[in-house]
């Protein structure tokens, strides 16, 4: 597997981290250090804070307490954590009106790509033949694979993946896991929230259910109910 970038001392350091979503405290007292080559499977029941943790790691949200550093050495040493991570979320971020090539070309220009060429990246995920089709007509699994190609065309050291294999068939999952291993060999870090087991070597498992936030009962329950209504009220 060709890897074009080697990451020097990519590192994720989490100390006594606490997370909340809205008014709901989700996780407390989480400490973890990851170095280049590490892969972590985030597990835990629904609503335990897996996606929230990924968003905090990506710099899209701030933790309620604790320290968090995402860093690497070399030319990109000064970048904030937003610019060091890739986020593969539930949603693929593809524009249906644009072709697969246009979609990826945009992300290359936006993120600054020095990775694989678009056709090579798509080939590695087995979707090379779709390059000139509009993204709107792709199947769910094809969209997911095109979205994952983004990680290859615009390389970044830390991959934060949310259910990366959810829509993928067995062959694509195997392909994807090979790419993850290649990324780790190049010194990258992978954090994947998942409900299925990922067949990766030396995979660490972090169960967010082990770090429950201490709930102040009574008041907390009322707040839960309030935030529920705020979030679910229709237009």
């Amino acid at each position: 597997m060709k890897v074009c970038t080697v990451w020097v001392e990519a590192r994720v350091k989490i100390k006594e981290l606490a997370l909340s979503r809205g008014e709901r405290a989700l996780v407390a007292g989480l400490s973890l250090t990851l170095v280049g080559g590490d892969a972590v499977a985030l597990v835990g029941p629904n609503g335990s804070g897996k996606t929230s943790l990924l968003r905090v790691l990506a710099g899209l949200a701030e933790p309620t307490a604790g320290d968090l550093t995402v860093s690497m050495q070399g030319a990109d040493a000064d970048l904030p954590r937003n610019a060091l991570v890739h986020l593969g979320g539930h949603q693929d971020g593809l524009k249906g009106a644009l072709t697969v090539r246009d979609n990826l070309e945009f992300w290359i220009a936006y993120f600054g790509g020095a990775g694989l060429s678009i056709s090579k990246a798509l080939d590695q995920l087995g979707v090379g033949h779709l390059v000139d089709l509009p993204a709107a007509i792709l199947s769910q699994g094809q969209k997911r694979r095109v979205a994952l190609a983004r990680l290859l065309v615009a390389p970044r050291p830390i991959w934060l993946l949310d259910e990366p294999t959810a829509a993928l068939d067995t062959a694509s999952t195997a392909r994807f896991l090979t790419l993850v291993e290649a990324h780790r060999r190049a010194g990258g870090i992978v954090v994947a929230a998942t409900h299925t087991s990922l067949d990766l070597s030396n995979l660490k498992t972090l169960d967010l259910g082990d770090y429950p936030a201490h709930r102040q009962d009574g008041e907390q329950t009322v707040k839960d109910a309030e935030s529920y209504w705020l979030e679910s009220e229709p237009l």
Partner: protein, 222 residues
Amino acid sequence: MSAFRALIARDVRLATRVGGGALTGTLFFLAVIVTIPFGVGPDLNLLSRIGPAIMWIGALLATLIGLERLFQSDKDDGALDLLRLTDSPVSNFVIAKVIAHWLGSSLPLVLVTPLLSLLLALEPRAILALTATLAVGTPALSFLGAVGAALAVTLRRGALLMAVIILPFSIPVLIFGVAATRAAIVDPDPFWPPFALLTATSLIYAVIGTLGAAATLKIGDG
């Protein structure tokens, strides 16, 4: 900087595709201006007197009509999160989105203004003034609308808020825009003071709107 340009290019491209929504505002504008003369009747003096105000109200509503969805499609497909994964501040992203929206939706509106002005029996000087005030004033509306659009993606009742919060702030733009245009027709009134105030409003809203929208997007994600 190339990321900035890439985002503008993508958004303009998406807007000008079929179903992209760039023409929605222009068509709405067209519909309002074309039907007014039939409603008012063939009184040319009356038309040219109320013409600038009608053009400005049409432009105001046409600009705001699609603006509420400025961040919505990026929110829906998850791109909004990805677009924030850069080392540049969220406000850069907001500015790029607003510029793209202005190019795709407001610029066509400014360009058809001279043509539509003929339907309202405006004289050449008024047409010139109207086009100039719209070109200078519509960016203010776009930046203002960005705040509403940011609220719309972070709150479920965004569409309602948009009308309640944004519309009052757009009134100064309307007043200065119409005042400058009218001054070009009615002789003793000076054109430049209201035009300068309109320009100033645009510049102020560019700052407030950018910071407001960026803060809203950030807080909404927290």
